[in-house]
């Protein structure tokens, strides 16, 4: 899972890059489901309704069968700055590939 850092809301989760079934990219804490719509983590998180976690753009569930943790290609396609991303080994995913 590619992630941007650690969740300040719960203090334990990794901020993963979650892609909904429609291709919207979001930042989602894998521990507490705190959600950011952009990589600006200075903004307060959102807490989408449980248990479906509807995507704030299209309403599709972020826990649904077509939602998934984004690949580096998907992050790049979405135009996000992949230099911010940390890979599974804890190093920059961009430099790791």
């Amino acid at each position: 899972m590619l992630y941007l850092g650690y969740c300040r809301h719960c203090g334990a989760g990794l901020l993963g890059l979650r892609r909904c079934g429609q291709g919207h990219l979001l930042v989602l804490c894998d521990e507490c489901d705190a959600l950011w719509q952009t990589s600006d983590l200075g903004q307060p998180p959102q807490f989408p309704p449980q248990p479906d976690l509807p995507c704030p753009h299209c309403g599709q569930s972020l826990n649904g069968p077509t939602a998934h943790w984004a690949s580096l290609d998907e992050v790049r396609q979405a135009g996000w700055n992949d230099a911010l991303i940390v890979g599974p080994g804890g190093c920059s995913a961009a430099s790791a590939t």
Binding site: H9, C10, G11, A12, G13, E31, C32, P51, L53, P88
Partner: protein, 200 residues
């Protein structure tokens, strides 16, 4: 068939019937069985496990039943919608990438040594973990610990003043898995989003 051969054949047939009776007899019910009545069976109830005591005597004990982790264990009560209520009144329902909050919490029943950062690991099994979470919640309701509120969320951190688990993950591995006394709960009302031991 000649008479001699017929006699041998009948003898063999007699032995066969006797043998079949001896095999089938222990399987037959000893008491009356009412037609159409099915003896109630306990799900997953196998023969009781035999536990060897130190003095060598075998003691009959109930075998721990392997259940799906989102089913009842310990004293959880099932509510509609696959929601399970703990004795302390906390609710575990569907949600998370694991499909159920109880399963999500039980990620902290074991270490994840390759996980970046710290990964809190509870001591004990599912029932013990649910009890620890209840205890932390009860203490926070009595005013202990710290509660941070953020929208619908409460993040509760309570020092249970004894070891409740240890720090795992990559950081825990580097630091020799230090013990933890604190439990953190992330709640929406009484719904458990997640819970884990941590060093605050």
């Amino acid at each position: 068939m000649r008479p001699g051969r017929r006699s041998v054949g009948l003898t063999l047939l007699g032995f066969g019937v006797l043998l079949a009776w001896l095999v089938v007899k222990p399987m037959l019910p000893t008491g009356p069985v009412e037609t159409g009545q099915v003896r109630p069976e306990t799900p997953n109830a196998g023969p009781p496990a035999s536990v060897e005591r130190p003095d060598g005597a075998a003691e009959q004990a109930e075998r721990p039943v392997e259940r799906p982790i989102d089913s009842a264990a310990g004293a959880l009560t099932e509510l509609p919608g696959d929601v399970w209520r703990s004795p302390g009144g906390l609710l575990y329902g569907p949600g998370s990438r694991e499909g159920h909050r109880l399963r999500h919490v039980l990620r902290h029943a074991r270490d994840d040594p390759d996980r970046p950062g710290e990964h809190g690991v509870f001591d004990g099994d599912q029932a013990a973990i649910v009890a620890l979470i209840d205890e932390a919640y009860a203490r926070s309701e009595q005013g202990a610990g710290r509660v941070e509120r953020d929208g619908p969320r409460s993040v509760v951190t309570v020092d249970l003043q004894r070891r409740v688990g240890y720090v795992g993950g990559q950081v825990g591995r580097r630091q020799g898995h230090p013990a933890t006394r604190h439990v953190r709960l992330v709640l929406e009302g009484r719904n458990v989003i997640t819970a884990y031991p941590l060093r605050p």
